[in-house]
């Protein structure tokens, strides 16, 4: 939780997942720590289980063994009506997500097959780093380190700062992935402990940003500009998740370039082609995935936009594969 305490390594945060051997979240081989809580609601989000701060219930019906064999979730302490079977189908359980939204770990605990399970766990800085340091030799070999992602990792600013500061103290390179929609005070706590900030420029127009991401981008842009100027020794890589029909236009890419190019510590601008890898997780959470009709950008479109970026950075390189 975000409170100042005497021993920062015992500070607790809500952690979604620790992923090892990541190669797309900063230089080298990295361990990415996904933190819970996000301050935006991007319709294309590939980590929907990271959005809410608290740990939350999920359900994988394929693992349910049915009412006849089990049926424990159909009885107290689980709330009446939250779980049910439909007559005439197999006897595996369905979830009424309107009535199950208040269910938590105590509900997941009744399920012997873990069809009901929780996304997220409370961990201390020490616990996270103990797992991260298992990959220490890979960092040294590859120039990698730890990357905090989310959600929006800087929402849990105190935990994030304590984790990164302790990683630094232990000689681990640090990076964060951020979309910037937090109070500047959060960045002030976190950024002094960051070697590389991967940050998203999702849309240029504030109203369109609000439509697709839930909030406008005025504070995001202010934060990014202020971060570039306040932390000249930190490296920044701008990124755009490229969503066809939403932001895959030259105007947006050029606007981002105009925003970042005056700042020499912004060392690159990457395009992240839209994918639907997170779609199954929407099922587990009983949520609607609104982007099901959206496709990945074409290689032609990607190459065209990449060429604009390369030209701005004065370089030539092979086109990115979709």
């Amino acid at each position: 939780m975000d409170v100042l305490i005497a021993n920062p390594t015992s500070l607790k945060g809500n952690v979604l997942n620790i992923q090892h051997f990541c190669t797309h979240d900063g230089p080298g081989i990295r361990t990415t720590v996904f933190l819970k809580a996000c301050s935006l609601r991007c319709k294309w989000c590939s980590n929907p289980e990271s959005i809410h701060r608290r740990p939350e219930l999920a359900y994988n019906r394929a693992k349910c063994i049915g009412k006849k064999e089990c049926g424990l979730c159909l009885k107290p302490p689980c709330p009446e009506g939250a779980f049910y079977v439909i007559d005439g189908t197999d006897d595996r359980v369905y979830v009424n997500w309107d009535l199950a939204t208040d269910c938590g770990a105590e509900t997941a605990a009744v399920c012997p097959t873990q069809a009901l399970h929780m996304f997220g766990d409370e961990m201390t800085v020490d616990q996270v780093l103990a797992e991260v340091e298992q990959d220490g030799s890979f960092y040294r070999e590859s120039g990698g380190g730890i990357t905090l992602s989310g959600g929006e990792c800087t929402v849990q600013a105190d935990f994030c700062a304590a984790l990164l500061a302790e990683a630094h103290r232990r000689g681990i390179n640090t990076a964060i992935e951020t979309a910037g929609n937090v109070p500047w005070a959060n960045y002030e706590k976190v950024l002094p402990h960051v070697d590389l900030m991967l940050h998203d420029h999702k849309l240029t127009d504030p109203e369109r940003h609000k439509k697709w991401c839930g909030a406008d981008n005025s504070r995001i842009r202010d934060n990014f500009k202020r971060a570039y100027e306040t932390f000249p020794n930190t490296k920044f890589i701008a990124r755009t998740p490229l969503i066809p029909g939403v932001n895959d236009d030259e105007t947006h890419i050029r606007a981002v370039l105009a925003f970042i190019r005056p700042h020499p510590n912004v060392i690159d601008y990457e395009l992240l082609p839209y994918h639907r890898y997170g779609e199954a997780k929407y099922e587990f959470l009983g949520r609607v995935f609104e982007m099901e009709d959206f496709k990945s950008p074409t290689s032609e479109s990607l190459a065209h936009l990449q060429a604009i970026i390369d030209e701005a950075f004065g370089r030539n390189r092979a086109p990115i594969k979709v």
Binding site: N96, W97, T101
Partner: protein, 386 residues
Amino acid sequence: MSTPVQRIAINIGGGYVPGINSVVTGAVLAAVVLGWEVIGIRDGFEGLLFPERYPQGGLLKLTPQLMESLAGATGCVLGTASNTDPFHVRTINPDNCVEEVDRSVELLASVQQEGIDAVISIVDAPGLSILLKLHRKGLKTVCVPKSAENQVAATHLSFGFNSALSFAVEMLEHTRQAAQSARKIAIVEVPGEHAGWLALQSGTAACADVVLIPEIPYDLHKVAATLRAKLKSDRTYGLVVVAEGAVPITGSQPQSNTPATDSLKSSLSPGATGAAGSHVIDHSGYAAETVALELQRLINHETYPLVLGQFAKGGPATAVDRQLGLGYGAAAVRAIHENRTGVMVAFQPPVLKFVPLAEAINKVRTVPSDSVFMQIARSLGIALGD
């Protein structure tokens, strides 16, 4: 009842179906007879949760005169709300961060502050669970079921279905003539994700060649054989009606690409998940496209898909839905008068009854295998894909 009812409210959750104004009219007229005042809450509960969005107020006084002026009109006098769940209201906080806030306590306080003694909510299946949750927190509510697919459990007939059925039959007749002159097989997809009432009844009324519904997994080879036999005689065209939730039997999966997602739009509604925990529908038009493409591979005849989709859920109400709507509205008032809240009005011929909300949720009203409509279809030679 501890205190006599003086003021009730009406609101509408979910999308439009024909006949909503009739339900509101029925409730207003019946309430006025009892000497009650009736107000409408605009756009679900948004009129109470976001009054600042409504320059003329989030509440609307409903009088017989107002309802008379709307007689027969399409549309909905109060607006609808397909996305607002008072337990998870998306909000931007003072830090510009997006979050979902439980505003149910605030909503109940607003209801009390406005002197509203009870609320009649016109909702489809997903809305029933939210109303049950609000009822458990103290809201006196009576629900009226609306469903163009007639899939709300515990009631024989939801209002809106008959209008959708009439429209679907008319469109099928148009399609038949077009298919006849084009000498093709028309594959028409109608709403019905979990329940095949609309496909079965419209297909039967239009004497379609084949009707495919979610309750009977179809064998495309048998469908093709039926059509081949018909085309061998003097027929030059075909008419296939497919509910959007119709699925092939295991082992006769379509060869075409399975939908890119094979997964859910997920379940705000009970029963919205398929066997593997995934949603049974990928998007509107998929069922018709799949059947059209696969049939064309199996028979020497050209097919083409058509999708009625949301068209079937608009337009004017039929006489049946107007009567039913008026009856539902009046019955909801009777339920409040009898101090029976936390219920849904259900048409169980020959009476309108009150069913506890807990008994109406987590079920889908599907077509039973011994349904008279199935028997009629089969006796007319209409193939059901099995």
